[in-house]
């Protein structure tokens, strides 16, 4: 369900697995993922690119790139008929274009792996991955297989699920 002021809420059943998640994933407020870009526009990325959170965590995407606009868009057939790379029971989201300083929030409740991308920068490899809960959670949906639907740069940009779970937060390469 997309709310006003570019906020969104994704609903679904979930059981929290707080005990096994890194401390950073248990923040009370929104967990921030920042859209970043080099001053000359040569590089763009999500920071962090990989994040582990407990079910029910709200993620806030913030455009911290003064010279560019970005989106945070879930891979889903519901959005531009893309490959499903979020849990089947989850609701896809699209922030639409965020200008510098704009934010967008989404709450993820269904356990599993969520892959997302920036619409204008997917070809440049600007993608991210959020792991909600752990593989021990009932109904946990693992990472999607590689697909020709995605450019090579995007496929190379997803941190490994094991690294995300082990570290809690993973920066891109």
């Amino acid at each position: 369900m997309i709310l006003t002021r570019r906020e969104a809420l994704v609903t679904g059943g979930a059981i929290a697995a707080l005990a096994t998640l890194p401390l950073a994933a248990r923040a009370d407020g929104p967990v921030i993922i920042t859209m970043k870009g080099a001053d000359n526009g040569a590089r763009v990325w999500f920071s962090p690119a990989g994040l582990a959170v407990a079910p029910g965590t709200t993620i806030r995407f913030e455009n911290g790139d003064a010279g560019n606009s970005h989106t945070a868009t879930a891979y889903s057939p519901d959005i531009d008929d893309r490959q499903l790379r979020i849990p089947p029971d989850a609701t896809a989201w699209d922030s639409d274009y965020l200008l510098p300083g704009d934010t967008f929030e989404v709450t993820l409740t269904v356990p599993g792996v969520y892959d997302f991308y920036c619409r204008p920068h997917e070809m440049a490899g600007m993608v991210g991955r959020i792991v909600v809960g752990t593989p021990d959670d009932a109904g946990f949906a693992g990472a999607a297989a590689d697909s020709d639907d995605l450019p090579d740069a995007a496929l190379a940009g997803f941190p490994a699920v094991a690294d995300i779970l082990a570290q809690g937060s993973v920066e891109g390469g």
């Binding site: 000359n40 526009g41 040569a42 010279g67 560019n68 606009s69 200008l99 204008p120 440049a124």
Partner: protein, 138 residues
């Protein structure tokens, strides 16, 4: 013959004035149609650090020229955005117009993409004035 020469001279002068008129019209933002403000066409900030306030004739996309203005609305640079894939496929971008025929320096840099030109491409920036780069830096 004298009459023809006089006519030719008049035509040349008139043409020269016309060119000067076009150039001066582009010296200050907004440039005349068909140029349009880039931030009105796609989701980008009005002023982009390093590029300034951009205007483009949409018919010339993706290469441009993009006319880049500083915070005071003065023309600072002409920018071309050249997709790398198109170059690799053999596309040539030739005889591209200039915003101003005084070019003091040129920057060529890779860009990962942005709304409007959403594929990796090269920015070719022709600066018009010694201080032009600093005027659109931030």
């Amino acid at each position: 013959m004298r009459i023809l020469s006089a006519v030719a001279l008049s035509a040349a002068m008139a043409t020269g004035l016309a060119f000067a008129g076009v150039a001066s019209a582009q010296d200050a933002a907004p440039p005349p149609a068909p140029f349009q403000k880039v931030s009105d066409l796609v989701a980008l900030p009005d002023f982009i650090p390093g590029l300034g306030e951009l205007f483009v004739d949409p018919a010339t996309l993706p290469a441009g020229p993009f006319l880049a203005y500083d915070h005071d609305g003065n023309l600072a640079a002409t920018v071309y955005m050249v997709p790398i894939a198109a170059l690799e496929d053999g596309t040539a971008y030739t005889d591209l117009p200039l915003g101003d025929d005084t070019v003091t320096s040129v920057d060529v840099m890779y860009n990962a993409g942005h709304p409007g030109v959403e594929e990796p491409h090269v920015h070719v920036i022709l600066y018009h004035g010694e201080d032009a780069k600093s005027r659109i830096a931030e």
